[in-house]
Symmetry: C2
Subunit: 339 residues, 2 copies
């Protein structure tokens, strides 16, 4: 059995979406076991009328609520009975639980994971790696997208190693093409950190480093993983999301405000819905946290059931692919650390 905890509170569509996502995931993976954390009574109510294998689903009561903008350190200290902290503590304490999925506060999740769960041996800083769709129909990972606003070249190299192993082992992309996000493609571009990272990555034989990338080329489909600091990675992912949403809205409005005939309108409406789905990165799963000693997947706060199902699937695949030990093995080849 692969045991995954699903934190059922903290998002826009909670607890309906996590509960429904968990039920769907149970149907897809016969060896998946799900533990839901949150207010037991509410969760029982949400499960009523749903059909699932009850021998593979468990509820752990965690009634405390994390309020908006609560400080991560306060959450860890004071909200031990919240759905998120309960999940984190169980993940730390139970060897047979593989990972967790949460759509709650990013700050609390990262801090909780770092402080309570810890890192894979050799990893300096865990990093987020969400996926975006490319216009060629593939996906591209972005690591880091916000866990670390300050980085060094050594961090960037580790993001490349971890992200590369993730794209290969979880998504079956052989020798993922890894690019370094920069302000130009020439090796000497950017700040000192970027130039140092460029030369480190060139010499990292387990990474297929293809050089610097300008952000305008992200969606073209020429790269499988983009490596960056968490600040610019966050800008990269959110700008893509924002531009796609605003542009589709505008194009749709412009078409329909000028359509003088009804013919074709239904077809176009359907198409715009598909385009929106295509560019909605939630459909590609959550932002996995790479480098923690147990699997942690962060879903978008606005995740619906389908997105959470995807997150559970990601956690499942990260565990079954043995990603953690592969990361430990490769990181060890480049880092010198004390036992």
């Amino acid at each position: 059995m692969i045991k995954i905890i699903v934190d059922c509170f903290g998002g826009d569509h909670c607890p309906q979406a996590p509960v429904e996502g968990a039920v769907k995931a149970l149907a897809s993976f016969p060896d998946l076991y799900v533990i839901l954390t949150g207010d037991e009574e509410i969760l029982r109510g949400e499960l009523q009328g749903k059909s699932y294998d009850s021998s593979r689903l468990e509820i752990v009561h965690a009634p405390q609520v994390i309020s908006c903008n609560e400080k991560p350190t306060d959450v860890i200290r004071l909200k031990r009975n919240s759905s998120m902290m309960k999940a984190i503590m169980m993940l730390r304490d139970s060897d047979d639980i593989a990972g967790m999925v949460s759509v709650g506060s990013t700050g609390a999740l990262v801090t909780g994971a770092l402080v309570r769960i810890g890192r894979i041996r050799g990893v300096i800083r865990p990093a987020f790696c969400p996926l975006l769709p490319t216009v060629k129909g593939g996906i591209v990972g972005v690591c880091d997208s916000g866990a670390n606003v300050d980085v060094t070249a050594a961090h960037l190299r580790q993001f490349a190693i971890m992200g590369s192993l993730y794209m290969e082992n979880v998504y079956g992309i052989e020798k993922p093409r890894v690019a370094l996000l920069n302000v130009g493609v020439e090796p000497e571009k950017g700040d000192e950190i970027r130039r140092e990272a460029y030369s480190l990555l060139k010499d990292t034989d387990c990474v297929s480093f293809v050089g610097n990338m300008e952000s305008r080329d992200l969606l073209a489909g020429n790269y499988d993983l983009v490596v960056c600091d968490g600040f610019s990675g966050n800008v990269l992912v959110k700008t893509t999301e924002g531009t796609a949403i605003e542009l589709l809205k505008k194009v749709k409005k412009d078409i329909f405000s000028r359509i003088l005939y009804k013919f074709g309108a239904l077809f176009l409406l359907k198409m715009f819905k598909e385009e929106k789905e295509f560019f909605d990165y939630q459909n590609y799963g959550g932002s996995v946290l790479l480098g923690t000693s147990k699997v942690v997947v962060k879903g978008h706060g606005s995740s619906k059931a389908r997105a959470i199902e995807k997150c559970i699937e990601q956690a499942y695949r990260m565990e079954t692919s043995g990603l953690s030990s592969k990361i430990e093995e490769q990181i060890a080849r480049y880092e010198h650390f004390e036992e």
Copy 2:
């Protein structure tokens, strides 16, 4: 007369686009005087058959060619007779020349402007400020978009002051709403630099600071100026450009691959052309360099005549609005510097 130099080489459509752009700008502004730099014979040939007021156009021979990827410092030292360096030196030496427009190498232009032209008194670092369209039909400035990959909070405050004065004086936006690019909207988000900049900006009374902004909200039209370091600003602008281009291409392809009827196809083609124009930031002018003691406008390397005409117009309006002295005046209120 407002004298503007147009560097006629270094871009994809050179020298046709700069020459045509200059001729168009001359027709729009009766008190504009244009100096074209570049190979005189080629420029004379390009001007043949065009109608313009020859008493307001001058050619300065500068036959040297800057090759691709030439180091900025080498350009300054060795290419004094290139169209760009000639323009920079004339701008420095002639009191009656107001500014220059170039579509050549960004690195060479920034370095040349800094070393040869110098800064407005009190300005620590000049910064680029391109404009992007918003879906509400307005524009938003991004400062800095790439001149400074490393910044401090004090730099960010100056970018806010300069950008704010630019949006107000050149585009007539009263009390521009200024936001700080960050990974979240809460004041404590981001790194130390962002947190310090947040508190500096709150206390800068000549700037209408509205707080942190996440990059997904750039195009929504709620801000007039976004302040950021040159690295993430570059990511912001180029991601918007890249996403818009790729997405429009995809939506267009998807519509036309499934249209089984001809009715409406022409209308849609026309509309997609308009959308592309709308999201093409070249149509909103070049990236002006704010903080140099003379006006410097950098056009996109792929600028066509219309884009260069816009750049000349920007340079003209920056000069006639007295932007430089306004920047000096406001910067002096916040900075303590030696005479």
